[in-house]
Symmetry: C2
Subunit: 427 residues, 2 copies
């Protein structure tokens, strides 16, 4: 048989999929006996379909794909949780297999989607939702399942890693580096999903769900982005032997799942410190395998399309052989989410304060009153003549106490100028 | 149903598998619905089986496993190509699924084994044969199949990487560091398979076969080990901005498959330069995904057992659902092996020569006569008073010409003392 495919979305990733399909369709048949045929392509822009030689398959109505009884498999590549939700759930309800790159959808509606796939006796595959082309979901759902996974963490957002890398290496201020990332197409016009950490949060929710066999959704993830990080913070990190990365972190603890995204100082000798630009790297630690790491390009047409088409081939292989879904939802346990307040770690805190006598002492007093013990304080000038940076590094402290101290500082009259920069230190 | 398993081999890896089985058997059922039961354990040493609480399942006759009609799946962990060959082929002929960690067997008898599995309608799985617990075979056989892979290369032998790391960081001579590796259990009493590169060669043969969809066997791999590498070479590499690693390399070229194992200088800024000790790292480059890297512990009870038991669970999942083998042999093409003579690269060559006037000039002349252009020559003392090291670095040269020059030098009277050290330079 030939597996008949409908593709929705002909942007960057969709275009990459069409390229792979056009180039390697015959190879798939020869090497793996997998015979796929694209029969319908949906997007808002016919020119995109035509540019990849599939103009004759074009429709702008996704219903023509999900309602077409000939189609076995639907690829959803438009992203987001609106129309994409209708397409994915509609296709599953119509008994079609689905491959998606949609992290936001999987991190918010994963349970509903798995349930629908289960009811219909079909599969949902989403390797491309995390880490671009890096095989990470498949290894975690297959090769590593003999382990109890204790943590999964890493750099999963290429945009912010690109920005941090350039701020670090070239000292370019945040606003400029963001504008540059937007000009290069690495960041969207509205950069919120990337710079505020939500993209990374969706990805770590997906990875944590698989790693710990327990559903973690986007809203479970404590998320902070990189808006308050400036070259001065990266330089200060260097001086202490650290590098700043936006890490997505999930730990299995005795209390439950500790899952968060935030700028993090890691030792400059750590492998992750050398993952630069739009590259991604994900560490998985298991009780038998120890520490493993998966590295590669986290974004881009080719890498993401590699993952999408890998899923398409895997699923098609099983459709052709009439095999029922082998792996569905694996969230069999119900682990609680550990409140962020319970976190205990060292903190780097940069406050911009008025340049006058007594401010440093007053700030130090607030930390002391909140049981936050300081390891070092440095005072450095800012571009403004009447403001200075106070850079504090704490000993191990409770998140709750840090939050309270920062609230007290914000409430104090004539103390903080703008938002403080908070970077957690992981050794 | 319950999948009934027979295990052959209770050494390091077999013991690791028993630990995982004892610890997580119930988790496998709860999380994945995979119900496995160990029903027979074979080895030469009953005490090993008893130590893991499975003395009551012991036999010292593997025929009791491969001839037992109740057993669905056989795990072979004794290694080598003798008895292991009989066990694996015997089990397949008896219609049993097989999981093995045996790289030597897969790299020499892979085709025969796949044919037998195919005839019997069962599967052979061998993730643990390469890279310890690092998922690499599964990602290459599944996630990455939408790519044409152009190269697969990396550090795949933990023993030699441990030795090179210690020679590099601590300047310990080869013989001492080998004795240390043997004392620590990282190297066998007969270290040939590791230090002469055969273990790495078997692994790259397996990886190349999968990557290029073309059978590559052990004898296809041009193999050189690290016996002639000394701390002086590692120091010279550092001075030039390089690190020496035993790399296993396979490239798809227009002429066919270029596959080899040899000590290699790589820039000290490359990620692989920071893979130290018994860790392994494997790079896979595909036309869509770009460069991906897989990292982890390359050896040890836990990591190897993680991979073996991962395979056991995957295969068991399909046995339980009555699913026919989904992926068999994928070597559908017949690419030629590129002769090593055709290689063109830069070379680091260290010759030990008598300490007398004119030797450097005479050696340089031999290179010149063989069309080998020199980039630099350094003369350094040795421990012996009457011998010196001549360290040559060439411009890009042909392997054939280098070989001829070294032959000429060896044939010249009173020139070479001992074997030259040859390290290829990859930029």
């Amino acid at each position: 048989m030939t597996v008949k495919i409908g593709l929705v979305g002909t942007g960057t990733v969709g275009g990459g999929c069409l390229d792979i399909y056009n180039k390697h369709k015959d190879d798939f048949k020869r090497h793996y006996g997998v015979d796929i045929e694209l029969v319908r392509v949906c997007s808002l822009d016919k020119a995109e379909a035509e540019a990849h030689g599939v103009g004759h398959l074009f429709t702008n109505d996704f219903n023509e794909i999900i309602n077409d009884p000939d189609i076995d498999l639907v690829i959803e590549l438009i992203g987001g949780t609106g129309v994409a939700h209708a397409i994915v759930t509609g296709a599953l309800k119509a008994g079609k297999y689905v491959v998606t790159a949609n992290k936001a959808l999987m991190a918010t509606a994963g349970e509903e989607i798995f349930d629908l796939a289960d009811e219909a006796g079909v599969e949902i595959a989403f390797e491309a939702s995390v880490g671009g082309g890096i095989p990470i979901i498949d290894p975690m759902k297959h090769s590593l399942i003999s382990n109890e996974i204790s943590s999964v963490l890493g750099i999963v957002n290429g945009t912010t890693n690109y920005m941090l890398t350039r701020m670090d290496k070239e000292g370019i201020p945040y606003d400029e580096v963001l504008a540059d990332a937007q000009a290069k197409g690495f960041a969207e016009a509205d950069p919120t999903a990337d710079v505020d950490g939500f993209d990374a949060a969706a990805k770590i929710a997906i990875l944590a769900s698989i790693a710990f066999n327990s559903r973690v959704v986007l809203s479970d993830v404590s998320t902070e982005g990189i808006r308050n990080v400036q070259p001065i913070d990266l330089k200060a990190a260097h001086d202490m032997g650290y590098v700043v990365k936006l890490l997505a972190i999930a730990h299995r603890t005795d209390e439950g799942v500790d899952v968060r995204v935030h700028p993090t100082m890691i030792p400059d000798t750590h492998q992750l410190a050398h993952v630069n630009g739009v590259d991604n790297a994900i560490y998985v630690t298991g009780d038998a395998v120890g520490e493993t790491m998966f590295f590669g390009a986290g974004a881009g047409a080719g890498p993401a399309a590699s993952a999408v088409m890998g899923d398409v081939l895997e699923v098609s292989r099983r459709i052709m052989q009439g095999v029922p879904p082998l792996v569905g939802c694996t969230c069999t346990d119900k682990l609680p989410i550990v409140p962020m307040d319970n976190l205990e770690t060292c903190y780097y805190l940069r406050l911009v304060v008025p340049d006058r006598v007594g401010v440093l002492a007053a700030a130090a007093k607030v930390f002391s009153e909140n049981d936050v013990s300081l390891r070092s304080v440095i005072q450095e000038g800012t571009r403004a003549r009447d403001a200075v940076n106070l850079i504090f590094v704490t000993h191990a402290a409770r998140e709750k106490n840090i939050r309270k101290a920062l609230e007290d500082l914000a409430a104090a009259e004539d103390m903080l100028i703008g938002e403080p920069t908070v970077i957690r230190v992981e050794d």
